[in-house]
Symmetry: C2
Subunit: 356 residues, 2 copies
């Protein structure tokens, strides 16, 4: 258990990344009846593995915290260190390393069994407890008089991956979320290498699950994701790890998010033609192996409905989601808004500013 | 029970109220560590009862659905029709007419008792069921194996008010949420009179609780709210109703929202110097009786954290929240962001663009 230290800073030390730039384009609209009621502004970058932009919206040099959208990048050390093989991680567990899961039994049971193989338990996770995002699972837990554990935290798979690496490399398991722990230093180095960005001196903070976050230019994050799509610039060990991650997530789309979730629904359709990961505060990242592209986007206001709708439109544009898939994904690409009686009252949809 | 009819429209009939206008100012910042991670753009209008602007941010002519922020306006017919007195509504019930409550026992028990006095029950509400927003109440309900009723819907007080008026005036109770029902026609006429805006031909839709919504210019909504602050332009019956609503909400701040909620916390401090009401999709309205001002704001992206933070800053600017109150309301005016382990990782706070 970490001590609870406030780390909010005084005003003059906080970087205002939006200040002085043109407003990001309106990329998502929320309609109600005969009017657009709300809009979301989103910046988005699609690049190749060299970092060359393919298409973009808004200021793609803006620093963004990758949050959970960069979990596939954070999963690389688990594989390339040999930890995954040493502990015989299956593709399901590799997927959980990349997951922001809904705390369903399929997620939590796997995490607990995996931690058991490490000689650890959910008590060794330092991510805090979280009630399952999957409503039926949350309700069942409450009805049974149970309380959520740290294994229920949506990041428990990522944290189990970090613990796996630490155990394998003989590093302390306690304090693995701290800036100075080798696990976190390795994650930062990996992001720097994958993105090609110098991360010394960038703004930093702490994620919902307690690990450090750091500001990376949006286009750098897209470039990092593009290495999954085109691993030709990576070391053999890292390239193999990247390919295993793409294959694993394609095989276990429900494990990366959960029942009914956008991320899982898209991956269920696209298979290995796409790697896709959502993050908090409206970040979404992806890779398109068939084309060698990486994608990263961020909703200015941090809203997930904006991020998923924008990502759906970009994947549609890139041809990752074809017409037949789009037909089956209708409710994900243009999300219906219902009222409490179940009546359809509006839609969340791509806006005309998201023109290609 | 109404039929479930989709009412979403084809694209060419949907008005894009944000198109072609300058971007709204950045009014709220969400910090994490040493960086602003997300921002919210908000339009806001403060006017007097004549409609003259006092201070504003962004395009205050933009059409906005008032959503639940205009419940105090929708409560007027309950009082001025004589329905409230005929059924002996207390100040608690008048407050519930204006409430978006959290479904706590203090809210739900009062609604059920009130409906019983009308010879009705929660089954006569047409707002749909909703699990309580108050987490301990929701969890207790689930632990007890119960399911939410329509009385738990956050709008159940407003709907009970509508039913009270219908019963008192001998109108049908069934279908009271429909456009053509006298209850809804009365609400629309009341909004037109209070705002001074011609509402013929404005965009329309349906609210989360099933009643019609219509687009009103933001400054018109502020003007409507200003009538509560300065009822001198109203008929004696409406002026009396407006005064009773201000007094009732000041006396029962916990009933208008709920335990721990921004709206309730502010009203608990300000008493009759302020009427304040939140709405879905980032709308917030208020009135300042001591100054004769009305306030209405809307977060472009529909986020409630933006709306409450902006409203807090405006009330601070107007002197409604004084230094001593601000001290006690610290966590409401600048909301802390905690991670799952309870560590403070950032803040939601007014941005420099919200300069006065």
């Amino acid at each position: 258990m970490n001590d609870v230290t406030p780390i909010a800073l005084s005003d003059d030390r906080i970087l205002r990344v939006h200040a002085g730039h043109a407003a990001a384009p309106i990329v998502v609209e929320v309609t109600r009846g005969s009017m657009v009621e709300s809009v979301h502004r989103v910046i988005a970058a699609v690049t190749d593995a060299s970092g060359a932009p393919v298409v973009s919206w808004g200021d793609i040099d803006r620093l963004v915290y990758g949050r959970s959208a960069i979990k596939p990048i954070q999963a690389l050390p688990v594989l390339e260190s040999g930890a995954a093989d040493a502990f015989d991680l299956g593709e399901d567990e590799v997927t959980l390393c990349c997951a922001s899961h809904s705390g369903e039994a399929m997620h939590v049971d796997r995490v607990n069994a995996w931690l058991g193989r490490l000689g650890l338990s959910a008590e060794d996770l330092e991510c805090g407890p979280q009630i399952p995002g999957h409503e039926p699972s949350a309700h069942a837990m409450l009805r049974a008089g149970e309380t959520p554990t740290r294994a229920h935290n949506n990041c428990s798979g990522k944290h189990s991956g970090m613990l796996t690496t630490a155990v394998h490399l003989g590093e302390p398991t306690k304090g693995y979320i701290r800036d100075e722990h080798p696990v976190q230093k390795r994650l930062r180095a990996t992001m720097q290498e994958m993105s090609g960005c110098d991360l010394s001196g960038v703004p930093t903070g702490y994620d919902g699950c307690g690990i450090p976050v750091y500001g990376v230019p949006l286009k750098g994050m897209a470039t990092a994701m593009a290495q999954f799509a085109d691993p030709s610039r990576l070391s053999p060990a890292r390239a193999a790890a990247a390919r295993r991650i793409v294959a694993a997530c394609a095989k276990h789309p429900l494990l990366i998010a959960g029942t009914g979730r956008f991320n899982s629904a898209i991956l269920s359709e696209t298979g290995e033609t796409c790697l896709l990961k959502s993050g908090a505060e409206g970040v979404f990242a992806g890779a398109v192996p068939g084309k060698g592209y990486g994608i990263c986007l961020k909703a200015d206001d941090g809203n997930g409905r904006a991020a998923s709708t924008a990502m759906g439109a970009i994947l549609r544009h890139l041809g990752v989601i074809d017409d037949a898939m789009a037909q089956r994904l209708t409710d994900k690409l243009v999300q219906p808004v219902h009222n409490w009686e179940g009546r359809l009252v509006g839609h969340i949809r791509p806006a005309p500013d998201l023109a290609f």
